[in-house]
Each structure stands twice: as structure tokens, then as C-alpha cells.
Amino acid sequence: MEVIEKALKEKRKNLTEYESKLALKEYGVPVTKEFLVRNAKEAVAKAEEIGYPVALKGSGPELLHKTELDIIRLNLKTPKELRNAFREIKANAGKKLKGALVQEMVKGQRELVIGLIRDPQFGPCVMFGLGGIYTEILRDVCFRVAPITEQDAYQMFEEIKGKKILDSFRGMAPADKKTLAQALVGLAKLGVENPSVKEVDVNPLILTKEGRPVAVDALVVLNEEAKK
């Protein structure tokens, strides 16, 4: 893949969020509608296209831990708020800022995680489970050896303890399992076809009120050894 080749050439250990999502999208993982912009003016123009409210995130290959660097601004409702946010992010990120990501604001209370790891024994494996801060607290996740079928993905939905999160719940529609299954199948395929991808985190993958899964944040970690 082009984004991966480019990053490897630049000797980078990971893709940016924007690049990660480009790669994931190509493999069928639904991602947020988003644009990479260079300045506040472009940001406002793209926000009009997406529709308010939007999120704004500082972007750059070296800007990995966005929360810690305080370069994320959510739920921006007007061009004025967006321009202010851009200014703040620029100040916090400093020279490492290579642009900003204007992103649709995805609302949903249900957070899932999907991921890819490379096991020394079994090779690429996909992960599915509860996302957000609960991933590490509850460790309610399961794995499958790649490649997988949609049927395998449906089995994974049944395997986690918190499987009810996929059902209709407090006025929220049941998850679109078909799309979710296709995302897992695609992610597994990404792992099989790209040996230079070491790990992938899609966390959170938010379920909207309507049950639509959307990758809100994503990180592709590269394996420098694989290209040798």
C-alpha cells in the first residue's frame, strides 16, 4: 500500500491517524469522514462540507499521543470555535505539527475496539472487544487467527462477555453486525497482505445510536524488520 510504503521509506514506525484510516478504509473498515488541512481557513471550508459539529486533531508523524499533548478539540459547533481550536492546537504541538484533521463528530455511547497483532506462533491475529478505557480495565476481548471469514467474526461477537453491547439497548439500535464483521474480515486481510504492518489499534470504534460502526481513532504500527 502506498501510505505504508511511503512511511517505511521515511523510516517511520507508524502511520498517522489520517494515513491509518486511509489504509483501513481500503480494507473495508468504516472510518470517520475527515480531511487533512493546513490552516484554519481550510479547516472552516472542510467543516462546512462535513457539517457541524466537528472535531479537530493536530496531525504529524511525531504526534502520537494526542490526548497527552492536548491537541484534540471535540464538538466544535461554529467557525469561530474551530478557528480558536486551531490556534490552541498549533500552540500546544509546536513545530511537530504538520497539519490538522477536521473530522465528523461521531456520537455514540458504545465503544468497541478492533485490532491486529502478530503472534510469534500463529502469525497475524485480529482482536475484537470492548473499547475505550474499558479495553484495558476489563480485558474483554477475543482473537482469531487471520485470515477469517464473516462467520468467524460473528463467533467473536458471541465470545465476549459484554456481547449485549451489540444488541438494542436503552433506545439505541442493535449494531450493524454485517458491517462490523466485514471490518474484521478486512482488518485480518490487511494483516495477511501487509507483512510490514506489525499491529493495528482501532480504538474506539464507536457504535452510533443507529448502530453504525465508525472508526474514530486508529493507529497502524509498522514492523521495520519485515521489509528487510
Binding site: I117, D119, Q121, M127, R139, V141, V145, Q151, Q155, E199
Partner: protein, 494 residues
């Protein structure tokens, strides 16, 4: 690979076996192996290899493998580590199909040992010889009367084959099975796995028509990818039950993502087993019960289970465990409620669990079983209440009244009657299960222990069936059957 399969087949059904390092000293393994080959009534030729002896245990000895007149299919090597080199070279000249290297003190000890066993493995592989070990207790194939192993156990031919890294674990299962009268097919104690990889052994058992269920105990897997591919294929042909020992620490491995931090080696192994369609269990008890259940019971068509119980609490516990495991307990249909009500006391449950509340007389259990098993609503039965005779014996012998000398006739009548019920009930279970293709799992505390007096066990063991000691055991066993059936249904659909 197919070469390995035919080698393994010849090794399991050999015409001639040599014991390299046979000993006249009953304290030596070289004695035990030879003894067990003879004790197991191996019908082919047995060649003890010993330079100093004319004969051992009445069998003529040969001073070397080269001096054995005819071909040899299997060589069991049981020499001290320093003599292994000679044994290997002699074997390679003789070209048996397979070897079993009992000798220990290699990879399990140090790096030098690991290097030596790898070299030995390569020598055998290059010569096209399959093998188990080093550091193992041997192998057996009950169907060919081949007991080339150290353990003094000679199970009758059955459907279960054991593939165990640890000789100790395999032996304990074999012993427990023998005690319950359960038959076995093969036992490969594969030890350090330096010659033929576990994936090939598994593939062979998958092809072997005498193996109906495969029981696996592993600690480490050397080639996970290949194991996973072979396991996925074998599970489509027959149930594979796996116990994994050695839950290794994820340790200080470098991970740069959250997903990486979540993935311990056990989690991935569990997921791979689940994906391949194997049944992963967490202790020896479940390894035994799950495997024997697959060997003796048909697969249910669905997860709709009926529970029949003589008394309340055990039925409730069975229902709880079924619910936890995702089994369904359909309501008892109206027509069945009506026909059961005709002979059960007013207090019976009218619900699933079908609790007889100790009513309807001694023959009620038989009538209820027949009616419930035949109902199309249930595809599997958990039956609680067999083993009346052991209970009757306890009651009458401990009683100040029935225990009196002048009550001997009444006492015997009681026990005899209960014994008859147990016998008919057990036979009924076998008949109905076979006729209807439904699993019927007998559960009882008193009747779960084998004994000469235990008639229910004696009838059921003839068909490789166990009596489960608690309702949780039978509910779990049922869930394994259901899981395997659902796996096969998914695969056939997809």
C-alpha cells in the same frame, strides 16, 4: 508429509518390534517395555536387543539390531543417553518405519541436550523414519495389541486416542479410563517432539479410522501455524479435546499498541482452538469427561435439552449449569404434561427440569425416560436418578429394622428390585439413545463409581458410557456435544 502418515500407520500396526536396550532387571525401563509388549499379547515378532543375554522373559535376544533376521517396523529405544548415538545409527541402517525414543536427559535438561536431540531428529527425518520422544513413556495401539510403553495398562480397543506431551498426563487418563471400563485406540507420548512434529501425529490420528475422538495435552507448540491448519482440518472429521498446560507469561515483550498488550500466548492459543473447532478444556477432569462423552454419545440435533430428575436440587443445579452454558430448556409440552400426570403424583414439577419428586413408584423413572426421550421437543436428555440399588443397599443395611436377621428376605427383595430397575433403566438409555440419535447422560453420585455390584455402570460401560458424578458434569458434557454439533453445522452451511 504423506510419507510420515504411512510411517506412523506402519508403526501403529507393526509386524515386528525390537526393544533396543531390553533388560532382565525388573527395576529397569528396558524390562518394563518388553514385559508390557508380551503382557499385551502382541501377535507379531518381538526382538529384544541385548548383548549379554541369550533370552529375557523367555524371548530370544539379539546382540544387535543388524543381527535380527527379518524386517523390523518399530524400534523402542531404551538405552542410557550415552549409548543413544549407536542406537540411532543402527536404526538408520535397519530402516524401521518408526522409533520410540524413551531415553531422557536431552532438551528438557540443557542447551547441549537440545542440540543433541535436534541432531538425532534430523538423522531420523533424513532417513524417512518417524518417531516419538526422546523423553517419553512409549506408545500403544489397542487395536493391534501393541503396548510398547512403560505403563502397566492394557485398555480394551475403543475410539479414544491420546496425544500427550507428558507421559504422566496420558497415563493418568488411560488409568482413569481403564478403571471406568472405557476403551482406547492409541496413546502417543511424544515427549520432546524431536523426530516427528505433533502436527503430523495429529494429522495421522485425524486420518486413522480406529480413532473416533482425539484427546490432546500440550504445553508448548513448536509450529503454531501448522498445528492450527492441521487442527482445523481434523476437527471437521472428529472431535478434538485439548488441555493446555504451561500458561506462559506474556513477559516483557515489546508492544507498541493496546491490542499487542491484550494478547497473551494463552489468549491466542484459546482463540485458535475455538476457531479451529476444537474443544478446549481447563483441567484433567474435563479432558476425561469431554472425550469419553464424545466416544459414547451421539451429537444432539440442537441445544434443546430435557432434564429428568428423581429429586429437586440436582435438577435445579443441572438447569443452572445448562443456562450458564447457553443450553436451552424448553417447556414441557401440554400433551406430555398430560401423559406424565397420569402416573406421577400431584406434586411433580410439570416443568423442565422434569422433577418426579420421588413419585410414581420405582418404574416411574423408566416410563418418564421413554416418554421424554421420544418427545420431539427435546434433542438431548440429562438424566438424574439412576443407581437406586446402591442407595437401597445403604438404606437397608444401615437400618435397625431392615438390618435384622429375620428381615433378610425383605432386604434382598428391596435390593434385587432396585437392581432390576437400574439394569432396565440403563438398557433403556442405550436403546433409546441409539434409536432416536439423542444423547442421554446418566447422572448419579452412588452409581458413578465402578464396582462389581454397580449394574448401571456395567451396562453403560459396554457402550463406552460414563455415569456423571454431578449434574454440573453432565451439563458440561452436554454443552461440549452441542458445541461440536453447532461447529459442524456452521461449517456445512458456510
Amino acid at each position: 508429509m504423506s510419507e510420515n502418515l504411512s510411517g506412523l500407520r506402519r508403526m501403529c500396526y507393526p509386524e515386528a518390534v525390537a526393544v533396543f536396550g531390553a533388560s532382565p532387571n525388573p527395576e529397569k525401563w528396558g524390562f518394563g517395555i518388553l514385559h508390557n509388549l508380551i503382557q499385551g499379547k502382541f501377535p507379531g515378532k518381538i526382538y529384544p536387543i541385548n548383548q549379554k543375554r541369550e533370552e529375557i522373559l523367555g524371548v530370544k535376544c539379539y546382540s544387535s539390531l543388524a543381527s535380527v533376521p527379518g524386517p523390523v517396523d518399530l524400534v523402542v529405544i531404551v538405552v542410557p543417553p550415552e549409548q543413544l548415538g549407536i542406537a540411532v545409527e543402527d536404526c538408520i541402517k535397519k530402516r524401521p518405519a518408526g522409533v520410540v525414543v524413551i531415553t531422557a536427559g536431552f532438551g528438557e535438561v540443557d542447551e547441549d541436550g537440545k542440540r543433541k536431540e535436534l541432531e538425532m531428529g534430523r538423522r531420523f527425518q533424513d532417513a524417512g523414519i518417524v518417531g516419538l520422544g526422546p523423553n517419553c513413556q512409549g506408545m500403544m495401539c489397542a487395536h493391534s495389541n501393541l503396548f510398547a510403553q512403560y505403563v502397566w495398562l492394557f485398555p480394551t480397543p475403543g475410539k479414544i486416542s491420546i496425544l500427550s506431551q507428558s507421559g504422566n498426563v496420558g497415563v493418568s487418563i488411560l488409568g482413569r479410563g481403564a478403571w471406568h471400563g472405557i476403551g482406547f485406540s492409541k496413546f502417543f507420548s511424544y515427549g520432546n517432539e524431536a523426530i516427528t512434529p505433533i502436527s503430523d501425529l495429529l494429522e495421522y490420528l485425524g486420518e486413522d479410522p480406529d480413532s473416533g475422538v482425539i484427546m490432546v495435552y500440550v504445553e508448548g507448540i513448536k509450529d503454531g501455524g501448522k498445528f492450527f491448519r492441521v487442527l482445523s482440518n481434523v476437527c471437521l472429521k472428529k472431535p478434538v479435546v485439548i488441555l493446555k498446560g504451561g500458561v506462559t507469561q506474556a513477559g516483557a515483550k515489546a508492544v507498541s499498541s493496546h491490542s499487542g498488550a491484550m494478547a497473551g500466548s494463552m489468549e491466542i492459543f484459546e482463540s485458535a482452538c475455538e476457531q479451529a473447532g476444537a474443544i478446549l478444556v481447563s483441567d484433567l477432569d474435563e479432558l476425561f469427561y469431554a472425550s469419553v462423552t464424545f466416544a459414547g454419545q451421539p451429537l444432539p440435533r440442537s441445544k434443546k435439552i430435557g432434564i429428568i430428575t428423581w429429586g429437586g436440587g440436582w435438577g435445579v443445579l443441572a438447569a443452572d449449569e445448562c443456562a450458564r452454558l447457553g443450553l436451552e430448556l424448553p417447556r414441557v409440552p401440554e400433551d406430555l404434561v398430560k401423559s406424565l400426570g397420569e402416573f406421577l403424583a400431584y406434586r411433580w414439577s410439570r416443568n423442565n427440569p422434569i422433577d418426579l419428586a420421588a413419585s410414581g413408584g420405582q418404574t416411574a423413572l423408566i416410563k418418564v425416560l421413554e416418554l421424554v426421550a421420544r418427545s420431539p421437543v427435546f434433542d438431548g436428555i440429562i438424566h438424574i436418578g439412576i443407581g437406586l440399588s446402591a442407595f437401597a443397599r445403604l438404606v437397608v443395611e444401615g437400618s435397625f429394622y431392615f438390618g435384622r436377621d429375620d428381615q433378610v428376605k425383605l432386604r434382598e427383595l428391596f435390593i434385587k428390585g432396585a437392581r432390576k430397575i437400574d439394569e432396565i433403566l440403563a438398557q433403556k438409555m442405550l436403546e433409546l439413545s441409539q434409536e432416536l440419535g439423542k444423547p442421554i447422560l446418566a447422572t448419579s453420585d452412588t452409581a458413578s463409581t465402578p464396582s462389581e455390584e454397580n449394574i448401571a455402570w456395567q451396562v453403560l460401560k459396554e457402550k463406552n458410557r460414563l455415569i456423571y458424578p454431578t449434574p454440573n458434569h453432565s451439563a458440561r458434557a452436554m454443552s461440549y456435544l452441542v458445541r461440536h454439533q453447532e461447529f459442524l453445522a456452521r461449517k456445512n452451511k458456510g
